[in-house]
């Protein structure tokens, strides 16, 4: 039987609650699909940090490298461990270390979910550059602590970095409704964003069948609220994609429904799948976290592994559950109730 080796990192807070739920559903889908998922759990988290002084062991990245995929719940427990440690010690090193340069996030309303907008007919795929740009980490300070203090943060965009995310975006658009929106702020950021626009125009030549439009980030943020149905594939930088995918999560009803995949398209290293939400310390371990985003992220993992049919089955199961009004109102249904309903719909 075909077997996939999956590294499971439940992480902190509700990350643990939802990883368990998603894993049960993925296992059930594997059983039906005639393949096996062999999961190995890693306790890397803020609790692990408080014990060992690091979010993961020094050879963490090398350990993960041999897996077919990584599934992550959520990390962070800001009351005890600063975000700078939890994110920069685990999540971001995995994204960058495995060149997971495409962060993909689908935004559409599941049946039965009422979003905040009056409009509900949208189906957007946001593709966020995940390794460079505004989150490069370059910068520093001078005259610290004086009236004259200056802090700088430098966004770094490489031709290879922009080309590959754009090409990935065009491939996705070609397989969908053939519309790609590139998002910049080239009227105010004349170096990085004008460069992004130039590269986009070059890559676009290879995809004449895809209709390309160019938006400024401010206009795109407004468009996602005012006319989301006009959008198909959006490609944006690390920061702009980060912001737009939270707006996407908002219009699809909230973070309980926002799934994501951190993809290494060359498959030279494993990809990572995670719900967009954080560890939500305030509701951790109460059994009330909505596992739908986590299960959806699991479906994205199955799809990436090549198990399209199983992925589609999980997505239909989710949809049939929300269509019944289960998991559609924040806090109403328990994690377990929703998970059981999805498992029932699968079988």
């Amino acid at each position: 039987m075909k077997t996939y080796n999956i590294a499971l990192i439940p992480g902190d807070g509700i990350g643990r609650d939802v990883t368990g739920a998603a894993w049960q559903v993925m296992q059930a889908a594997a059983k039906r699909g005639g393949f096996a998922l062999d999961g190995k759990r890693f306790p890397w988290s803020c609790a692990y940090y408080l014990e060992t002084g690091a979010m993961m062991p020094p050879d963490g990245i090398e350990t993960l490298r041999k897996f077919d995929a990584i599934y992550l719940g959520a990390v962070g427990w800001p009351a005890e461990v600063p975000d700078s440690v939890s994110l920069h010690g685990l999540l971001l090193p995995i994204r960058k270390g495995f060149t997971q340069y495409a962060n993909i996030r689908p935004h559409r309303l599941l049946p039965g979910v009422q979003g905040p907008l009056r409009s509900d007919g949208f189906d957007i795929l946001c593709i966020r550059e995940n390794t460079e740009g505004e989150y490069s980490g370059a910068g520093g300070r001078v005259h610290s602590g004086t009236a004259n203090e200056v802090a700088i943060e430098t966004a770094i965009f490489t031709r290879a970095g922009v080309e590959r995310i754009m090409r990935f975006g065009f491939e996705q658009a070609r397989a969908r409704r053939k519309k790609l929106a590139s998002v910049t702020k080239s009227n105010a950021q004349k170096h990085s964003m004008v460069f992004w626009d130039e590269v986009t125009r070059e890559i676009a030549k290879d995809y004449p069948e895809v209709e390309v439009s160019h938006y400024h980030i401010d206009a795109m943020a407004a468009r996602m609220v005012l006319a989301p149905e006009s959008l198909d594939v959006i490609v944006a930088s690390n920061l702009f994609g980060d912001i737009l995918t939270d707006i996407g999560a908002a219009i699809q009803g909230g973070l309980g429904y926002a799934a994501s995949a951190n993809i290494n398209p060359d498959r030279s290293a494993p990809s990572m799948f995670e719900p967009v939400h954080g560890s939500a310390p305030d509701i951790a371990h109460l059994g009330v976290a909505n596992p739908i985003a986590a299960i959806w992220s699991g479906a994205m993992m199955l799809e990436h592994l090549g198990e399209r049919h199983a992925a589609a089955e999980v997505m239909s199961a989710i949809a049939s559950v929300t269509a019944q009004g289960i998991g559609t109102i924040a806090g109403k249904d328990r994690t377990e109730t929703i998970t059981r309903a999805v498992l029932a719909a699968l079988s």
Copy 2:
């Protein structure tokens, strides 16, 4: 009679249409209020650029300096003049040249206007840093045109720059519902945004009566869509404020209702008032631009000049007009119809 000298820059496209409308309303309010507005028109625009090679004369800034305020319609005509010329040759030099460091944008629904959200009870004041940060313009490229090309864009934050906008924000919050939300992305931008957070915490000590919260830009973008009623004053950097105010414009029904003021709080130079919308070449000079954002920006100018009563009268006139369903549906009412209705409501 008290007389204010106003520099009028109608600019391009619908900038011209709405400036005329707003100016009529301001004049009527002045008449009722017993003061005078002496307007001097400057034709600085893309048309002016095509004739003269510059968006404004070399002594443009010096010419404007002696006015009590500047009123601008909109600039830009991208088909003929790139944004890099129109914005960097007029709008941005005025903002920076006159240290208009606080860009203020109110977001609330006017009566009768249906926004895109199901929720309608919000009243937000966004305060955007307007002179530095991510729009500093610093950066460049190496290895141009080669596979190895790199573009960088450096955000620059100064202590004086962050302190003054924060202090301004706290003053505004103190005069409103005493809640201030500071927006950063300090979990991913460790230099500039951690600095911003530090300065915010210091300034906050001087305003113990104001409740401060800290959001990441992605979470705040989502919050403006999911729970706008929970927000009062938002203070954000140049880029983050730019994005959030477009979301604010979207939730208040669109750019037809989004007013703004570029304030020099020390009054060492004139402030500038402008609707947030652009020049909208597609509908220019058809007489269909909604002048409400422009009129509202005019009311902000009257308020800044110290004519509070006149400003309040203009705001009530706008509200009574939209409450009647005039100017509330995009493209339904002509610029002139809406303007006349506001003038009638004023008298």
